[in-house]
């Protein structure tokens, strides 16, 4: 018995060592992804965020055709960086809607004027309520909503140039 107890600390340490090593080897993953992927889009109704686009509500999805839902804000710097990619996706025929988080109409208008407007509809989420309801933890993020109104995929962070083909692929397969 005493023998066991004497070697127990070393055994425990080896266990911890393994745990630390596994922690170091694993790539650092600080992303909090939404747990709603695979589930239906929550119900929401939002007022218009841009002067020249209609408001957005959840009923606009589940039309049979997959759509891209972009979560952005005019005060968000990476959102400006992903604007060209969104425009490219629009060119490729993707239907994109957006939700502007903690924003105001004049600022959204200025942003869209400056960086281009790929959106069909833009909803205004002044108090992050829909953002939280979606399980989104920051801006920018993009969700692929399939034809039946289910969340098929969540892309955290801005869409880079090399992400575009992958997004197009996923949109195609999410019928």
């Amino acid at each position: 018995m005493r023998k066991l107890l004497i070697w127990l600390p070393l055994a425990l340490f080896l266990g911890f060592f393994g745990l630390f090593a596994s922690g170091l080897l694993r790539p650092d993953d600080r992303i909090i992804s939404s747990k709603l992927v695979g589930k239906s889009l929550p119900v929401f109704v939002l007022p218009a965020a841009a002067s020249d686009r209609p408001p957005l509500s959840s009923t606009e999805f589940a039309t049979g055709k997959p759509r891209l839902l972009n979560i952005f804000a005019s005060w968000c710097v990476p959102c400006a960086a992903e604007a060209p990619q969104l425009l490219a996706l629009r060119q490729a025929g993707v239907e994109i809607d957006a939700i502007a988080i903690r924003d105001a109409r004049p600022d959204v208008d200025a942003f869209l004027k400056r960086y281009g407007n790929p959106y069909a509809r833009v909803g205004l989420d002044a108090r992050s309520e829909v953002q939280i309801a979606l399980g989104s933890s920051g801006v920018p993020e993009s969700f692929i909503i399939d034809g039946k109104g289910r969340i098929a995929y969540q892309h955290v962070g801005d869409i880079r140039e090399d992400d575009v083909p992958m997004i197009l692929d996923r949109l195609r397969s999410a019928q």
């Binding site: 924003d103 939280i132 920051g138």
Partner: protein
Amino acid sequence: MRVVVALLALMLSAPVFAQSALPPAPYADRQIEDPALEKKARTLMETIRCLTCQSQSIADSNASMAGDLRSQIRERIMAGEQPEHIRAWLIERYGDWVSYEPTAEPILWPLWAAPLVLLGLGLLLLRGRIKRKRRS
């Protein structure tokens, strides 16, 4: 002169902070009138993790999203919702990570078993020592 410098600095420093310029949500920093409800809300807030911070609860965070969450929690509790229901709703969206209060999931059972196991080990050690004394 110092005041002028300060004012100038304030004006120039604003664009550096890439954050929403909107004011905080109504109940982000406003307590519920009813102290019992406010206590319920506060207890819940202290156990919900801030999504955009390093490692803080939303009760301790300056971040705007934390403020929005606080406001939502207070409003929902005023509307009569139970704190545990709100917590479950948040866990449904963000996973166990968002709750500092460990859930009843199987993956957390060892965490609850740990004190019993360690105390048991301690008792064993103590009993072993006493038995040895009795024997000698």
